[in-house]
């Protein structure tokens, strides 16, 4: 009986549908804000004859640490240069490093309490009792948010009300459950969310320059395959998908 179940399970695994490549998947560590768009890209890539892609999404600082500690990842896409620098400093970048995307910040509020802000300075209003951002110590979205708030001069006023979150999606989630009154996330996250509505959306004239660099790692087990996927992302088809989700591809 057990042997039959085992045989069935094995045959189910071994069967490969016609037309799908049998190459092992490449592993891509990418900033969590890229979750939805990269899943779409991978689908498109597989559909047009590319290989399979396996993703590891997380806050870029965590991913950078993993790679610097030797995690077997083929391609790394970070949400800021600082975390890519961490990987570079550890000598873990294999190929060239390219700038892939631009993004913008946005302020979101719970969708059952929509408001529109004309300027991010309005966050200094004490009505915003709690504001979630990525941890400003290392999470890129948090670093950008703090940088922006400092630049417009309200960081000191809001600092006590900041809730540092493990990632930009955690900050978004805090707003969606109503646990915080506002969050600073990426414009692309605001588009995806159904339970958080945008109060202020980029392009922000004075907003920080947000760049997502990408690089093949030294510990890549399939650098050629990873390079093919990266080329796809930078191709016309890849750029269309990025634009659909609100990102701006680097030309």
């Amino acid at each position: 009986m057990f042997a039959r179940i085992a045989a069935f399970a094995l045959s189910a695994c071994a069967g490969v549908p016609q037309g799908l490549p049998t190459r092992p998947p490449i592993t891509v560590s990418a900033a969590v804000s890229l979750t939805d768009v990269l899943m779409a890209e991978a689908q498109e890539y597989a559909r047009t004859g590319g290989g399979n892609v396996r993703f590891n999404f997380g806050a870029s600082n965590v991913l950078a640490r993993q790679i610097a500690s030797g995690a077997p990842v083929d391609l790394f896409i970070s949400a800021d240069q600082a975390q890519m620098d961490v990987v570079a400093a550890a000598g873990a970048i294999g190929g060239t490093r390219v700038d892939l995307l631009y993004n913008q910040l946005a302020v979101v509020v719970p969708s059952d309490r929509p408001r529109t802000l004309r300027s991010v300075r309005e966050l200094a209003d004490p009505a915003f009792k709690r504001i979630a951002i990525g941890d400003p110590q290392a999470v890129p979205a948090g670093v950008y948010a703090k940088q922006y708030l400092q630049q417009v001069g309200i960081w000191d006023a809001v600092q006590q009300r900041i809730v540092p979150s493990a990632s930009v999606r955690a900050a978004l989630s805090a707003v969606e459950t109503g646990a915080v009154d506002a969050a600073i996330v990426y414009r692309t996250d605001a588009r995806i969310s159904t339970r958080a509505s945008a109060a202020l959306v980029g392009p922000l004239a004075d907003g920080p320059r947000i760049v997502y660099p990408a690089a093949i790692t030294k510990s890549a087990e399939q650098p050629a395959e990873a390079s093919r996927f990266l080329d796809f992302l930078r191709s016309g088809k890849g750029r269309l998908v990025f634009e659909r989700f609100g990102f701006t591809p680097v030309s």
Binding site: V62, R65, V86, D135, A138, T177, G178, A179
Partner: protein
């Protein structure tokens, strides 16, 4: 926030959590030890759930319950009570995670108390409450304290539920475990190791005491 204040905050919250759960925990332990009733196994299982479920899941349940858009949201808002992302959430998370430890250990203690003493007390006219307070509880006391110490130790080390429902706000909700995680994430390994040493010491002390107490048999 330096090591000392993080440690003090964590211990204070853990003591608060254990205190909060002490009476309800003893009540449930007593109920399970002495009474048969419909739903007994269900109660036993529900109380033990935080022991087996992923702590983040427990945290998520608490978050959904207490957030503004949750079922208790409107009530909390009416009285302007904020729980999520405050020390209260830390205490609640620690309390629920530590509760099964207290209940299971205390229950074993109560089951070890010879029922005949309670029966004799009843024949002498003592109310069930008086019998509990003057006979059963003192006899089971070593187990009760061992259970409380276990719950305390577990509370000090609690991470998953805490970070979900209380976050990692420096100076407000950053416990030892949460701070260790934060330092690890931001590459500050030296500070993380320092807190690790503190946390290991507290855990060792609490567990050692708990085990010593659990070894003592009632008179």
């Amino acid at each position: 926030m330096d090591t000392w204040s993080i440690t003090a905050f964590t211990i204070a919250c853990a003591i608060g959590a254990t205190t909060l759960m002490f009476v309800p925990g003893l009540g449930v332990a007593w109920l399970l030890a002495r009474h048969r009733f419909v739903g007994r196994t269900a109660l036993e299982t529900v109380v033990s759930l935080p022991l087996v479920m992923p702590p983040v899941a427990t945290g998520l349940l608490l978050l959904l319950l207490l957030s503004r858009r949750g079922p208790l949201g409107p009530l909390l808002e009416r009285f302007d009570i904020q729980i999520v992302f405050t020390w209260k959430a830390v205490v609640l998370a620690m309390g629920f995670i530590g509760l099964p430890m207290l209940v299971r250990t205390a229950r074993a203690g109560f089951e070890n108390v010879d029922r005949r003493y309670e029966q004799v007390a009843a024949t002498l006219g003592a109310s069930p409450f008086r019998s509990f307070m003057t006979i059963s509880l003192p006899l089971a006391w070593p187990s009760v304290v061992a259970g409380a110490m276990l719950a305390f130790a577990r509370a000090v080390g609690e991470f998953g539920a805490t970070i979900v429902v209380a976050g990692s706000i420096p100076g407000v909700t950053r416990t030892l475990a949460v701070a260790i995680y934060g330092y690890t994430e931001t590459g500050q390994d030296a500070k993380a190791l320092e807190l690790l040493a503190v946390s290991a010491t507290i855990a060792f002390a609490a567990l050692w005491l708990s085990n010593r107490l659990a070894e003592r048999r009632p008179a």
